[in-house]
Amino acid sequence: MVESRVTVVNNLGLHARAAAQLVRLAGQFESTIRIIRPDKDIFADAKSILNLLTLAASIGTVLHLQAEGPDEEKALNAVEELFKSGFGEL
């Protein structure tokens, strides 16, 4: 399993459109991808939009990413990049 940490940088946070983008990306990988919100002790499967929306991650929220599976490195990097790019909203 590989792990990293990201901060939500786009103004709208992990809202519906951003979450849909993340689900689409996560779906391209075989690995399980988990997004954890440590301050609320909740986590989401990055392949489920309902799960991701439940995180209610607004701008500035710190999230932990975990990927586990045959393409975990690639999956983690791709998800990290998407967060850093602010889901194309910066």
Binding site: H15, A16, I49, L53
Partner: protein, 307 residues
């Protein structure tokens, strides 16, 4: 395969309490069992997906351009739409538990976007005492639960019209409304302007022709869409004698059996792709009558028959 999706949003209405309809329907038992169990008995694989996260208003009754809680409803609608799209993509038939009727903006926007991406048309049958076709210009209250039909037809606040994808979601050719008896003057003008009179089966039409003929016509209209149709059911279509637990009651509604008949016919058609029940307000209910009726209506819509 059925997905239960809760949408506890009640601030689109003037009276609070419909947000509690979700858990009331989920947890009430009819003949000893919850609605999910009854659906399983009918042969469905049922998954309760939990509730769609709602963006709550933080500062009281905020109005923007004559619309109450516009920002919160539009952000929540985007969430609702996204969850509906995910459910339909998985091949499930969503059962949406409301909530007030403003949630139809998000749910139908999601449904329509899903079918559009598949290259299919989708119809809509709308059960309601009201037309829900107000715009910020015609609405006296500014409550969004009186505006969802206008929004999905492409009229009203941009934030509501452009949920999930831009512009109108509903082709009026595939739309039918059943049970109306309380329509504002601005709404009448809108219905006339859009040429929708023959899409409305009002209580007067039901009195004259009977529920059977009206619902058969509605199924024919909405079922002409290549992808089938969605159903949104406001419990205030039913007469307050049978459904007292709702926020905007109007006398002269359908009977208990007429409501069931309508949904039994819809189930028989085999063309329903999504079912939504809204405006069940447990705070205004009497002996859980309306909540239990809502549970029973869900079952009729999914094929429960008397024999």
């Amino acid at each position: 395969m059925i997905d239960i999706i809760g949408v506890p949003l009640g601030f689109g209405a003037g009276k609070s309490g419909s947000e509690l309809g979700v858990e009331a329907i989920r947890h009430s038992k009819i003949r000893g069992s919850k609605v999910t169990h009854h659906l399983e008995q009918l042969g469905y694989v049922v998954t309760d997906r939990g509730n769609v996260p709602i963006v709550q208003p933080s500062d009281g009754y905020k109005t923007s351009g004559g619309v109450r809680h516009l920002t919160e409803v539009s952000l929540s609608s985007a969430n609702i739409a996204a969850v509906l799209i995910e459910s339909l993509n998985s091949g499930a038939t969503p059962v949406v538990l409301g909530g007030d009727h403003s949630i139809a903006i998000g749910s139908f926007s999601g449904i329509a976007t899903h079918f559009k991406e598949k290259g299919e048309e989708i119809g809509l049958i709308w059960f309601d005492a009201h037309a829900d076709i107000n715009t910020p210009e015609t609405s006296a209250s500014g409550n969004i639960h009186g505006m969802p039909l206008a929004a999905i037809l492409g009229y009203g606040a941009t934030e509501l019209v452009n949920v999930a994808s831009n512009g109108s979601k509903l082709d009026p050719r595939f739309f039918a409304h059943i049970g109306a008896r309380d329509i504002d003057p601005g709404e009448k003008a809108m219905i006339e302007k859009l040429g929708l009179r023959d899409r409305f089966f009002t209580m007067s039409d039901i009195d004259k022709r009977g529920m059977l003929a009206c619902v058969e016509d509605a199924i024919r209209i909405a079922g002409a869409a290549s992808g089938g149709f969605a159903v949104t059911f406001d419990v205030d279509m039913i007469d307050p004698r049978f459904a007292p637990g709702s926020g905007t009651l109007v006398r002269g509604g359908t009977t208990y059996r007429e409501a069931h008949l309508a949904l039994e016919l819809i189930a028989e058609s085999g063309k329903m792709r999504s079912f939504e029940i809204v405006e069940v307000n447990p705070l205004l209910d009497q002996s859980n009558l309306t909540v239990e009726l809502a549970c029973e209506l869900i079952l009729s819509a999914f094929g429960k028959t008397i024999l």
